[in-house]
Every structure is written in structure tokens, then in C-alpha cells.
Symmetry: D2
Subunit: 401 residues, 4 copies
Amino acid sequence: MTGTSPQPLKVAMIGYAFMGRAHSQAWRTAGRFFDLPLDPQMSLLVGRNPDRTQQAAAQLGWSETTGDWREVIERDDIDVVDICTPGDSHAEIALAALEAGKHVMVEKPMANSVAEAEQMARAADHAAARGVRSMVGFTYRRVPALQLARELIAEGRIGQVRQVRAQYLQDWLADPSSPLTWRLQRERAGSGALGDIGAHIIDLTCFLTGERFAGVSGMLETFVSERPLPAEASADGSEHNGTGLGGRSGEGYGAVTVDDAALAMGRLSSGAPVVLEASRFAWGRKNAMRIEVTGSLGALSFDFEDMNVLHVYDAGEPGRTAGFTRVLATEPDHPYVQAWWPPGHGLGYEHGFTHQVVDFVHAVAAGEQPTPSFQEGLHVQRVLDAVERSSAERSTWTPVE
Amino acid sequence: MTGTSPQPLKVAMIGYAFMGRAHSQAWRTAGRFFDLPLDPQMSLLVGRNPDRTQQAAAQLGWSETTGDWREVIERDDIDVVDICTPGDSHAEIALAALEAGKHVMVEKPMANSVAEAEQMARAADHAAARGVRSMVGFTYRRVPALQLARELIAEGRIGQVRQVRAQYLQDWLADPSSPLTWRLQRERAGSGALGDIGAHIIDLTCFLTGERFAGVSGMLETFVSERPLPAEASADGSEHNGTGLGGRSGEGYGAVTVDDAALAMGRLSSGAPVVLEASRFAWGRKNAMRIEVTGSLGALSFDFEDMNVLHVYDAGEPGRTAGFTRVLATEPDHPYVQAWWPPGHGLGYEHGFTHQVVDFVHAVAAGEQPTPSFQEGLHVQRVLDAVERSSAERSTWTPVE
Amino acid sequence: MTGTSPQPLKVAMIGYAFMGRAHSQAWRTAGRFFDLPLDPQMSLLVGRNPDRTQQAAAQLGWSETTGDWREVIERDDIDVVDICTPGDSHAEIALAALEAGKHVMVEKPMANSVAEAEQMARAADHAAARGVRSMVGFTYRRVPALQLARELIAEGRIGQVRQVRAQYLQDWLADPSSPLTWRLQRERAGSGALGDIGAHIIDLTCFLTGERFAGVSGMLETFVSERPLPAEASADGSEHNGTGLGGRSGEGYGAVTVDDAALAMGRLSSGAPVVLEASRFAWGRKNAMRIEVTGSLGALSFDFEDMNVLHVYDAGEPGRTAGFTRVLATEPDHPYVQAWWPPGHGLGYEHGFTHQVVDFVHAVAAGEQPTPSFQEGLHVQRVLDAVERSSAERSTWTPVE
Amino acid sequence: MTGTSPQPLKVAMIGYAFMGRAHSQAWRTAGRFFDLPLDPQMSLLVGRNPDRTQQAAAQLGWSETTGDWREVIERDDIDVVDICTPGDSHAEIALAALEAGKHVMVEKPMANSVAEAEQMARAADHAAARGVRSMVGFTYRRVPALQLARELIAEGRIGQVRQVRAQYLQDWLADPSSPLTWRLQRERAGSGALGDIGAHIIDLTCFLTGERFAGVSGMLETFVSERPLPAEASADGSEHNGTGLGGRSGEGYGAVTVDDAALAMGRLSSGAPVVLEASRFAWGRKNAMRIEVTGSLGALSFDFEDMNVLHVYDAGEPGRTAGFTRVLATEPDHPYVQAWWPPGHGLGYEHGFTHQVVDFVHAVAAGEQPTPSFQEGLHVQRVLDAVERSSAERSTWTPVE
């Protein structure tokens, strides 16, 4: 809002399904509520189907379209590549973009394998040395209540972290007649509930505690092993808002090659035990990403189904009036909230994406590393991998590199 | 639990329906968990139907029975008269008992009219001068979470009381085929939702704030004006646990002569506004006695459907971590709780009655006035009366004497 | 998203404070998530201070600015006038705009007096005959959970409406050192909590039940009668996000001339009793707009602090499994939700404004009356007025015309 | 309540601390609210310290006392032995009592080792052949909401069980200065959080699903390895209500030899995955025994901190009104509730014990096996043992016999 206009920051986005829509809203909105040091411009949208891509660009507000992501790499005027495709193409695109000197934002999980993620993290480090920035889209870090949780833990308000219990529960696969979308195919999605939603609680555990995982014991389960093939239009993600979360069934059946639920016990570098559960079969839980961190002096608890609230327990309070305090994280004192509405006027899912853009643009402008970095994304990938390997080996304890 | 055994305190109870069962459990249990200065003995049970009364005495644990409450008055060995009958007989029995020098506990509402209540309060004052004690059974005062609320307000934790909002919502009359029990007859019950459950939130407002009502504006409503007459056995309260809360329908219909819902706005002596609602038609609310007191420095909130919890808001807490704290009032520091179970092992409805007996017995032994006194019961009666009169006069503001 | 592009719909907005920011976000976003029959263009922003207006236009995305709202009326290219100023200027602007054939959206409360509102409603009726549309911004109608509530009631799911209990509780004035903004001045704001937030629950009661108020009994209270004058910059609403909800104090004190809390009991046209409370002093309640509607067959309950949830009680369910069902109104089946995110990915405060724009644009394109109409706004104004008059006359029952 | 009086059932209880107090209340109360086929008489209390035992007997209402549990075995007039001591004496007493033809109720966990439990289960089977009954005190099975959950699952209301997630969280050990009571000594308590509270959720998982555990992967943690020795009076459990849950510290420190938190992943006989966590370090969680069972057609969820409520999700409900229903399990239709109070008048912790006595007495009178049997108790013991062994072997999958 100050004197001279900020310089433009030209963005190209690959993919326009669920994540693409959320990212578009974020690029469009960030500068309307926050003072940004650079002016993001929604320049180029990339998608395979030309008609659909043009339609999406018109709807979402992108200036141009192309059918080939390589064009993005080659164009000099693009500053940022925002990768919103399924996980199997992340590595190739991100490596090319970083190589070409473009800042990269990539959706989670960062990659479909540890090998890919390692390559990406190395490339990100090299790029950083040349001033090129990269970041993984673990958006939930930017929910104000969770950002507040991180601040309180970092300030020592709950003391030393003793335990983490986290669940990410959904139910959109609980119906066995729901079709076999790309999210149920190992070669596209890497894994199932584990990588899709388990990755979020793994990242949040690291984010909130400031620690990494030392090792895990894992257990995977596929409840429904065959599902109807999706109708054609659903198959490419262009239906059902392209989320890969549903759609119409077509003819024939195919094998589900990923997990429906993933369980893990782990330990952080400090030794603190962690319990994790990710399930897309938890009837009645729509987006229940829940995390509770218990420390030596208190505890914090969060459930995304009530996303504007953080519950805080302060063990220093006398027993007579102690209890979990329901903090409605909508005060001007809370992270990001000053830019929005008065207290009690809640934010929604998409605001995390807007905050992510705000932080990314600030980091790019300041020449700093945005978080979570590809190194952090790699760590999540290694935890996912360790859970899978442990699961295959009778849940035996498996160190995380 | 100390050296010499406490002296016996011989109790006679009139009525053995819903309240009689709750009082019996309290007389039986109080000395098992609390050290009492006197030893309550369940001596005599009074009921009209000899067979049923004997059956009830056997079940509830009373030593003897009689069909005539006057026998209680005449017997020298009875120390306490516990009146659990419908409101139309309270005054006569209580006056006789006080006159005979017996301590009296009477269920709420204390009487069916202000005139009766005035007479009772006068008699109680005279009796007190002779060392005879009396008390009204507003049991909810003895729920630990509400007792805690009173303590916090008395300590100034929420500052000066600014507003009270209270609801008592039930749904057992919402079905129009539910029969016409005594609770729906003005000559038996005095009033409907107003006196039955509204009386509780009026008393609690006074108890929690330490104030009285200066005046009210009221509005009454009867949704269902005719109901099936109850089957004979239900009519006298001997069925459905004798609660008058349900039962089987018989033949024919009769007029409902009490209110189904009562609304009021009032002011306390300090001028603080109060909103009250009592309804027995609130589908889905089973026993939702809710009260929230807002002061200049904080607020407290309670719902009986979650009776072990008090929500506390401290306005002095910085906005970043402020919010209502869910205090599970089951800690040793909480009123009455030390005698029971470890933290989190909740108490139930009947515990309020046990605590009432404990406090009553202590007051009798100490020669002190138990609370709430008949004067306090009279005040509630006056508020009930003012609500009814205001309702009949276009809700015009009606001072409470 | 279909073939030919929709025609433009050129919008001018008067005022750019709290409501202006919310409306801007709505105009900007509606077409990105919904297929609109017309293409809203953010053409002209009106504000008194030229610098601040230009700054706001740049931030919020309006193409041009002007210092005089009359310019809007005179310009032929403006199709819609969106009035986001305090209530004292609504009538003048709206009348001129309708007269000039421009569609009008006006923030609530519609006016500062019944006389103004009557004039506006008449003008709206005349304008409608000429195809000019008008609407009041009772945005909460467009919260999906509340829209769902309306649908369920209209379908008869809770039977005949028996009772409504509604509260709108905030706490931003509970601190007596908070300054005297325009919202505390009768000549600017019309009334206090009554018109600011009470208006919302009055409108929602009408919206949800499909009824009007027959009469009310009211009671108003001002807890803090003098407050520090605001620092200059706060006075004109340009600080604290221009919400008039806070700001810095300057020198001297001034009189609060509006109510801090408003209580009312009312009856709907069907006779159903309603209890209302609006307070800006309810410590710990940030934006607790709560409404519960009880019918003969069930009940619905809502709290804006958990805005994506509707609680539904179905009295037809057997007692064994009956209870309030927590419906997370984020399913594709829920109103407006299909356009947004997958289940459980909650919406926020601003989404109601976006939905309001969507419905308004559809109504304009279809040549239909958007809701709530100025007639509906007038009814709310009459209820507000009746509450004030009743309050001044010892809460005596006051019919609503 | 019917004609001839029931025959007496003479009970001797060993131990009078926390569990002894709860059991006493149950023996005293059961016949007052339920029609029992036998009349339990509180005949004999056993405790080591004669003075304290006599004091306890007076307080709790036992007729006689003795210092030697063997006297119970030898006396012909004792019908039931109720064992409320720490786990290290369960086996010896139970074996002797069964051998002597006395019915046995034993607190959980049934024993301190699998070997003991096997011996006990064998003895119970032999005794059963002679008409002698035995039962383990997994009281939570008798909480009405959990009994309802079992009924709904058995009726197929949630279809085939797919997943169980259970936590038992307390915080009474979170303070490292809390003393080293018997519950922290392996030779007395067998294990820590695992056997004390983990045993409950293992049993409940079996009870609710009707299945057994096929195997587990476990992880144990001791956060505080040394604690102050308790003051003498605390050491023998006679202080702090003898719960072993707290007390005063004395001089010196000793080693904690049990786990503070226990984590496990398991599978039921059907293959359904289970996640378990037991912790006595979960700040702010006082008695949060939470269990959620997800099936193919719905889900059920429970938290003991809100013990009168069961949340029920029915996947057959259309998405528009689907959600978890908060069933307040206080209706006459709910298990055990008919005997108590009207809807919404909640029960407390001790009611589970009363229901346990009711069911035990009925089983004894009918000559049937009460549940949970010693065989069921043995299964829990085997799961506890498998968790410990897995934990010691890098969490490797460990089948349960």
C-alpha cells in the first residue's frame, strides 16, 4: 500500500484441478489483504487438454495457457513455477525449473520416492546458492491456529515436548463403489492415505516440535482391493472439481495399489514418542486432521474440522481453574489474522494457501529460504518410506535417515 | 471417621416418587463419603397408598412407613422432615413441622403461591429463633461446577456482574400425546415450566451473583392445550418412576392449565440485565440447564448436560491465549470432590442431593442457617409470581418486592 | 464457463472500510468459483478522503475513484451501487440510485429509522416495476449451514415452528477504555448492539422461519456511558481496518448514546415465542451468533463461531439413537458448497459475501427480486424500532406493524 | 420389589482403597435401584492394618473386619470374594477363593503375569463346572453409553468393523515431583500405564467389537525415571483416598520401574487395525478414555470425560443431514438407565460399578457366566504381555496367542 508499486512476479502454474484452484485463489487474493514486496501476476496456466486448460484459465484468471510445461521453463519472463500436478511429475518439472533459475513451489508430497526427493533437495540447495527459491506446499502450516501452536511451543509454553498424537481422518473412500481415481494408483500417487494425508501430519509434527523423526514402526492396510474404473471424464481429474476425490464410475474394475489407512508409531530426535494414523475410511470424519502435542509444562490440541480454534493447556494454572482453553485464533494478535476480519469472523480452508503465497513472496523478495524447504520435504518423504518399509517387515522399528 | 460416633438424626420423608428416590439416595450415601457431625437415619417414609409405600420403603431403605404425614409431626423421635410431595402440600406440612420443632427440608418450588411462601418464610424465621432449621431443595447449587462458579464470582474473578443469560430446556412434553400428569395441572403444580424448571435458573441466578431480582418482564406460552388423561396408575405418580414426567395415557382428554414455556427479561438489584427461558418443548434438549454470567473482568458458562464442566473466561489473559477454559470440576480442589473419585471420574445428577444432605446436616449440627433459606425460596416465588403477572399484563415491567 | 462471455455488470461501491473490504473480496471472487450470468466489474470506488480512497482502490482492486457519491448516480455506465457506509447515509444514496435506475445493494441495518426505511422500501417497489433491483446485505443468510437450515425448515423437517432462541454475543466493547467510535453514536449508527448485531438475528429469525414478528417486548442497557474520544485517524474509520470496532483513544471523553446490550421477547405471526439477546459486552464470545429453532418435529441449532456446522435434531428418530446431529455443511449437497472445496475443508466469514454477490447477480440477470428485499429490511427496522419503544415504555408489549 | 424377599448373598471384600470404595458404593446401591434376585450383604472387610480397616468398615458400611484374607476363604458363610488389592495378590487370593467354592470378582488387570492369569482362567473354568462364578472388573463395559455402543455394533448398525482407535489419557504423573507410589513399581503393579489404563482400552476393544487381538506392535516409554519416595502414610495407599494416584513425598528417591506411556498398533482376529495409546503424562486429559470404532456402515465415538454421551454416525443417512449424532445415553431405552433418573440427568463414574454388581448378582443367581470372564481377562493379559515383548524387540509384530 506504499508509494512505488512493487515489481511484478510472474507465475506459471502446472495443473488446474483441486490444488490448482486453491493456488489460483491464493495468488489472486494475497495482495488484496497483505502488503506484498512483489506483485504476483497470474501469467501462464499449463494443462494437457487445450480446451479445458483455456476454460480453466478463464475461470481462474490466468492470462495465457500452454499445453507443454517445458514452455514455462524456456520462457524468460516466468519467475515462479507452481507445481500442482500429481506426484509422479513433480521431480522432473521441479528439477528443470530450478535448473532454469525459476523459483519453485511444489505441492505435497514432494515426490513419489526418496530417490526423487533427494535429487530435488540437492537441486534446491544448488539453486539456493544462485538465489533461486523453492518450497513445498504443506499448507496447513499456515493455518493461524497451527502457526500460533508453533509459536507457543517455540516460546517454551508447553516445556519440553513429550508426546505427539496425530490423526488425519477422512471418509471419502469408505464407500467401496467410489471409483479408482489416480489417487488410488501407486504409480501416480506414490502411496495412498500415507502420502496424501499422512504426509501432512508428519510435516506438522516436525513443524510444531521443531524436531525430526528418528525412526518409525508402521502398518498399512487396504480395505477395498478392487474398485470400479472411473468414467473417462473422471479419470483425468477434470470432473468432481478434478480433485481425484470422487467422480462417476465407468465399466470394469481395477486393483487398488495403495494403502487405505496407515498407522505408525515413531520417535522424534529427542526420543519423544509419536502416534500417527491416516485413514480415508473413517466414516463421519470429513477432514479431521487432529494433532495434540503434550509437553512437560502443558499441551496443545487442534482439529481441522474446527480450524479456527487451538486448545491450550497450561500446567502452571492452579488445578481449580486449569483446563484446555479454547482459543479462537481470530484475534489481531494471531498470525496472519490482522489482515483479515474482526475477532470471531472465521477463516476457511483456502486462507492457508493465501498465507503460503504471502510468505513465499516475502522470502523470494528478501532472498531468504521459504519454509518448508525441499530438505524438509525430503525428510517427510523418508518418514513415509520408512513407514512403508517397516510395514512390509512386520512393523519392525525402522530408523529414518 | 473420628473417635466417638455421631448422634443419630432421624429423618422422615414425605413422598417417594422422583424426588423421594433422589433424597433417599442422598440420605443413604452422605455419611459414606463425608464425615458428618450427625448420623442421618432413614426412619420413616410417608405415602398415601400403604402397599406402595411399604414397597418403596423396602426398596429405598426406610425403616418404617405411615400413611399420614401428621404422624410424623406427632412423633417425638423424628428430627427432620423432608418434604418431597407436589407443591400443593408443601406449606401445610412445612408449617406443622416447623411448629413441632422439626428441621425441614422442602423440595422446590417452595410453595404454589407467594402467600404460602410468605407464611412459610415467617414460620422459618420464628423456628430459627428456636434453633429449628429449614432449607429449600434447590439442589443444583450443590453441583461442584456451579459451587465453583459461585466461589469464583464471590472472589471477584469476573469482576462486577453485568449480564446473566440462563435457559432450562427439556423436551419431555414436546410430544402432544404425552399424558396430562399432575405437573400439567395448576392446582397441583402451581405453574408449568416456570415453577418446575424456571425456578431453578432464577435461584441459580441469585445464588451465583449474590443478588436478588429487582423486577421482570414475562411471557408464558402453552403450546398444547389439551392432552390425554393419564392411565390410572400414572395419575398418582406411581408409574414412570413416579416422576410425573411421562406415563401411559388413559381415556379422554383434559385441559393443560399451566405454561409449557416461560420467557422473562429481568434486572438484578444492581441493575444487571438477565434473560431467562424455561421450556419443556425444546426437542433434543434433555436437561439443558444453561447459565452464563458475564462480568466486567470475565465470564462463566455452564450446561447441566455436561455437568462436570465449568467454562471460565478471564479477560485479563492476553488475547493471544485467551478463551473459555473448560474446567473439569473433578479435582480435589473443587467443592465436594475430595470426598469422591480421582480427577476426570465424573459425578452424576444424584450427587447434588448428597451434597445437599451434607450441608444440611452440618448446618443443623452447627446451629446455623442452611442455604437456600425459606426467605430465599420466597424470593424465587415472588419472581415466579411477577413473571406470571407481567405475562398477563402485556409483559409490562413488574417490580419484585 | 460456457461459450459466449457474459455481459459486464459495472459496480460502484461507496465506502471501503470493514464492509467495503468484504464486499470487494466478494465481487472479485464470485465469478472465479461460480458461473455467473453477468460479469461483475469493480469499476468505481467512492470515499471522502481522496488519498485514502485511491490507496484503498489500489489495494482492493477498483479501477477508478471519486470523492462524491453523486458522481456514481450521474454516470450512465454504472449498473450497481453497493452501499457500505454507516447507516446515516443509506437512505439518501439508495433513493438517488434507485431513482437513477441503478440496482442497489445496501448494508444492514437498512436505515437509521423506520421513516427512512419506509421511503426506501417504497422506492424499491417502484424501481422493481421498472426492472431495477435492490437488496439488503444480511449476509449471514448465505452461510451454507444457515441456508441448509432454511431449506430443512421449508421442507417441514422440524414441523411447525414453536420457539426461536437467538443470541448475538460479542465482547469488543467490554473494555471501558475502548474508544467512542461512530458505532457508539446514535446519529451515525442509529442504535448500538440492537441495530448492529441484533438486526442480524431478527432477520435470521424471519429468514429461517419464513415468518414475521407480530410484536415484541424489549429492554436496552448501556453499561459504559462515557468513553474516551477516538484518536483522529480512528474517528473516520480509516484505522483498525476501518471497522469502527476499535482503534486508539485520543483526548477527552464523550457520551455513548446507543445501547450496549439489547434484550427482547417476541412473537412471530404464528404466535411462536422468540427470545433475542444482542450484546457487545459478552466477554469471551467473539462472534457468537447463535440461533436455535424448535419445531413440533425437531430442532436446528447454529453458532457462528463454528460456522460450518448445523446441529439437527429429528424427533422421529427412536430415543435410543436420537440426538443432535453435527452436520458439517461442507458436502457437495449443501448450498453453495459444490463450488468450493471437498468435504470438511471449511469456508470462512467472507464466503457469505461471495454467495450474496452470486445470488444478487443471478437475480439481476433473471429480472427477479433478490432477497432480502427492502420490504424485508423495513420489517427488521420496524422490529428494531418496536424494541426501542417497548424498552422506553417499561417493556410493554409493542406490536410490530 | 416383589413378594418374597431374595436370599442373602454375603460378600467379603479384600482392600478398601480407591477400588474398595467404589465397590462398596456399588454393593450398597445396586439393590436400591435395581430388582436383584439375591440380596448382597456387605459382611466382611479385609485389610492389613486393623485400625484403618475398622475405620474403613465403619465408613463404608461393612459389618465385620479381619486382617487375614485367608479367614474369608475358611468361613462358610461368605458367598462372594471381591478382590480390590493391587495386582500382585490377585492370583493367590482368587485361586484360593475359587477352590473354596466362592464366587470371585477381581479388579483389573486380572494378574501381573500371563502365567498367573492362565492359572486363574483354568481355575475359573473348573470352578464354573461346579457352579462357582468369576468375573474381572472391567467396569467401563457397564457405562450405559458403552453398553449401547456394544449393542449397536452387535446389531450390525455400523456394519463390519474396519478400524478401532483408542486412547486412555490421564495426567496425574506429568509432574515429576509426584511420588513413587505402588503404581510405579513393577513388582506391585505389573506394569504402568499399560496395565493400569491400557488394559481398559484393550478390553473395551474386544468388548465392543466382539473380537480378540491377533497380534500387536508395541512401544513403551518412561519419561521420568526417578521419583521421590512417598511419605510413609502414602506408601501403603492409606492417603489420597488410597488411590496410589498421588500423595505426599517423603525423603529420598527411587527408580520408576514401569512405563509412563504405552503405544501399540494391533490387528483383531478379523484383521481390522487398531491403534492404542495409554499415557499418564497427557497434561489436561484427566480421564480421557476415548474409543472410536469405524465400520463399513458407520462409526461410534466415546470419551469418558463426557461419559453420558455416545456419538453415532450412520453412513446410510443422506450427506445433506449426515453427521455424528450426540446421543445422550440417559433415556429409558438405554442400558441400565430405566432404573435411574429422567433423561439428561447424567450418571457418574460409580454407576458403572453398581451395574457391574447388578449383572454379577444376576449371573450368580441364574447360574450363568458373568462377563468379562477370567478367559477374557487372560486375553487382555496376553495382549499386555505381547505389547511389552514387542516393545523390547524393536516393536516387531508379536502374535497374541
